[in-house]
Amino acid sequence: GASGTSVDTTISLDKAVEVELTCILDKEYSYLKSFQVTWKRGNETISHTNKTDSSWSIKVSVSDSSKLGSYSCTLKGEKQLSGIFHLQVPKIERKEKPTISYLRDTGVMSCECPGYTAISWTWYMTNGSKQIVINESLLADRYVISKKSASITQLKILKLSKEDGGEYWCEATFELGKSEGRLELKVLSFVVPLKPFIAIVVEVVVFIALIVCYEIYSTKVKRTETEKEFDQIEHLKSEDSGLESSEARQRRI
């Protein structure tokens, strides 16, 4: 039910059902005395099926697409209040970001209408300004349409080429009508991400070269230092042996 100044609500129907729409007047408006509540669809007035002091309902038997649309309950009196119900087929989630695939690879696109079961799905490809149905028999080797689950459909395009990029439409057929979703496919050549990769590899090689050069340089420096030390130690050694012999001589004495 709806209450207040003007309230909107959307109801998605995938099957033929009978719905009851109720407008409930909020407590804060209970002071209103003389008013009239009418249910309308477009210009056509619908009679109430159920009526109480603060709620008004109608029953709609939605059997085909002609029964879908906007139903409104309007309260005319001291104040003007209305509530609107939109009855429609479920909308397919749209993908804002394009799907990215590579040449000669497999491109995968999927459409989903969560919670509802579609009778059938159809895929369209946009060529120029025309919409072409992707018929399995037409291009059976390259296109694979599979039903992943009750509410998800998937289109796989094998061996992508540049021309495969562009707009695609997935259409779900419900009992009460059809619903469309738009997807975009971008086909990139392998070279595109390769460029930053090669840039990074070059940078890495430069660093490695720098470090290797630095190491070779510093080991050369160290080697000359150790040679100098060896000389020092040899020198001290000879001093030592000189001292030793003098001590030994002293002891003997």
């Binding site: 990215i100 991400p193 390769l194 990769f197 660093f207 720098l210 060896f230 130690i233 001292l243 030793e244």
Partner: protein
């Protein structure tokens, strides 16, 4: 007798080679560790973004795809003992370079993936093992190079984890531009950057410290030589104390085995120990022999049998003390971070505010790690006292978390939690180094990481199960608080464990008396 471990820190300042290690290239090591943290943790955390892309394009159910992420993050820990063996045989630098190459290769290979099992191997196995190599090599090298300021350097390196929040939007951008395959290609290149930074892990200087060891036994010699010999004496003494301590455990063959071929910090004293025992008079020969022993000489130590996989940590009570605390503190760290956002949502906080919480937590943790590392390095008291204190405080904070039901209160909780978490996580490695020393660090860290890996594998499912069972996130925080409080209990046993260890080594102490 416990103090034998500690004098190494102040004495390290006196030994000339250690001084060289602390300056210069030590910063390279810390930088490399920092980079490893950023890239490895970044990759692990952004796996969730790849998850969505994999689900759509490669196919497979969520469970199958989450296996990839689990293999990747658990192998990082579980592969550690194996990596420890490799490190000891080849050295840290080659291992780290190999790890970086494996990671880059895994990324590149994954671009060709067409099915989930393929990805499990190329991304899960290869990346996981590569990460383990990188992490283990970097951690041990940091411990070896930065003796005096280990806690602070460790904290600086760990702060790299705080920067990983930048990697997520970057990954999303790449995926929008290039698709998941292009992104993996670029990531492979970025991981290749770890190769030059691994080359910064230079082995500790192979140059023998300037010293004629013979001088210590002669009255002659210049004053400079005398001073050298004094410092060397101290160096020798500390290292000999250590070596003798180690003799009693089974580690000695392995330490000798791995230190000498690489000419690392205290290899020569081991050789000199044996040689000085034999020939006290032929000092000159000793000097030249010792010098020659510095050149990589695998032949000299070929006699000592080196066990391929060193199981000695498993016989050491200190190891169990450390692993117990390591395991529980990891659980206490991961579980709240998992469920923080979810809890905020259930309390009615919007996702914008929830993401503020996460950012505040990240920044506070970074700052607190640095502070905790700096304070711990001052050595006012033993590092594990700080560690235990932070754990207890963090446990109390977690236990009080259920009381935080509004945004300001939750923010207070997050800040407190981040401060204490940063505190104890920064000290994990320094505490281990304090307990077991740097020589055995590879084996101990390897096995400890293995057990922690088991906890890491079980942690997320356990947290999820807790939620399913109790239908509230409160229990996860209580659980984390309990873990954090259990974890420092093992440290109470540390002094008695040390005494037990020394008693075991008592009979072998004679050579020391003899040397004196």
């Amino acid at each position: 007798e416990r103090k034998v471990e500690e004098p190494e820190a102040p004495a390290a300042g006196n030994c000339p080679e250690a001084e060289a290690a602390d300056g210069g290239c030590a910063w390279g090591v810390v930088f490399h560790f920092f980079l490893v943290n950023v890239l490895v943790m970044g990759m692990l955390k952004t796996f969730g973004i790849f998850f969505v892309a994999f689900q759509e394009e490669v196919g497979g159910s969520s469970e199958q795809i989450s296996w990839i992420g689990s293999i990747m993050s658990s192998l990082r820990f579980l592969g550690a003992p194996l990596v420890a063996v490799v490190c000891r045989k080849l050295g840290e630098r080659p291992t780290s370079i190999a790890g970086a190459a494996v990671v880059a290769g895994g990324c590149l290979l994954s671009t060709q993936a067409t099915s989930v099992p393929f990805l499990c191997i190329s991304m899960g196995l290869l990346l996981g093992m590569g990460f383990a190599c990188l992490y283990q090599a970097a951690a041990v090298m940091t411990a070896k190079r930065c003796r005096t300021r280990l806690a602070f350097s460790n904290a600086i390196a760990r702060s790299g984890m705080g920067l990983t929040f930048l990697i997520a939007p970057f990954t999303q951008l790449l995926i929008d531009f290039y698709g998941w395959q292009g992104t993996l290609l670029v990531f492979g290149g970025i991981m290749l950057n770890l190769v030059p930074s691994s080359m910064l892990l230079r082995p500790v200087s192979t140059q023998p410290p300037r010293r004629p060891p013979a001088q210590s036994q002669h009255h002659g010699g210049s004053s400079a030589a005398k001073k050298d010999s004094e410092t060397l004496d101290r160096c020798l003494d500390e290292s000999t104390h250590k070596e003798i301590q180690l003799r009693s455990t089974q580690d000695l063959p392995t330490t000798e085995g791995f230190t000498v071929p690489h000419g690392r910090d205290v290899p020569a004293p081991v050789n000199t120990l044996e040689r000085v025992k034999k020939a006290t008079t032929s000092s000159a020969e000793t000097a030249t022999e010792a010098k020659r022993s510095y050149k990589p000489h695998p032949g000299t130590q070929a006699g000592n049998a080196q066990p391929l996989l060193d199981f000695s940590p498993l016989k050491d009570p200190i190891f169990y003390i450390f692993t117990w605390s390591f395991l529980f503190c990891h659980l206490a760290y991961f579980v709240p971070t998992f469920h923080l956002v979810a809890r905020a949502r259930t309390l009615g906080i919007s996702s914008m505010d929830a993401s503020y919480l996460v950012s505040v937590a990240g920044i506070t943790e970074m700052v607190s790690q640095l502070l905790s590392g700096w304070v711990a390095d001052k050595n006012w008291t033993k590092k594990y006292h700080y560690h235990a204190a932070y754990l207890v405080l963090s446990g109390i904070t977690n236990l009080l978390c259920p009381l935080a039901t509004t945004f300001p209160l939750l923010m207070t909780y997050v800040v407190a939690f981040a401060v204490f978490c940063g505190g104890f996580m920064a000290l994990v490695l320094p505490v281990l180094v304090d307990l077991v020393g740097v020589q055995n660090l590879h084996s101990y860290l390897g096995f400890a990481a293995f057990f922690a890996g088991i906890a890491a594998v079980g942690g997320p499912p356990l947290a999820g199960w807790l939620y399913d069972y109790t239908q509230t996130y409160v229990c996860s925080f209580l659980f984390a608080g309990a873990c954090a409080l259990i974890s420092p209990i093992s440290f109470f046993f540390e002094p008695s464990a040390q005494k037990w260890k020394l008693k075991k080594s008592q009979p072998k102490q004679q050579p020391r008396a003899w040397l004196r």
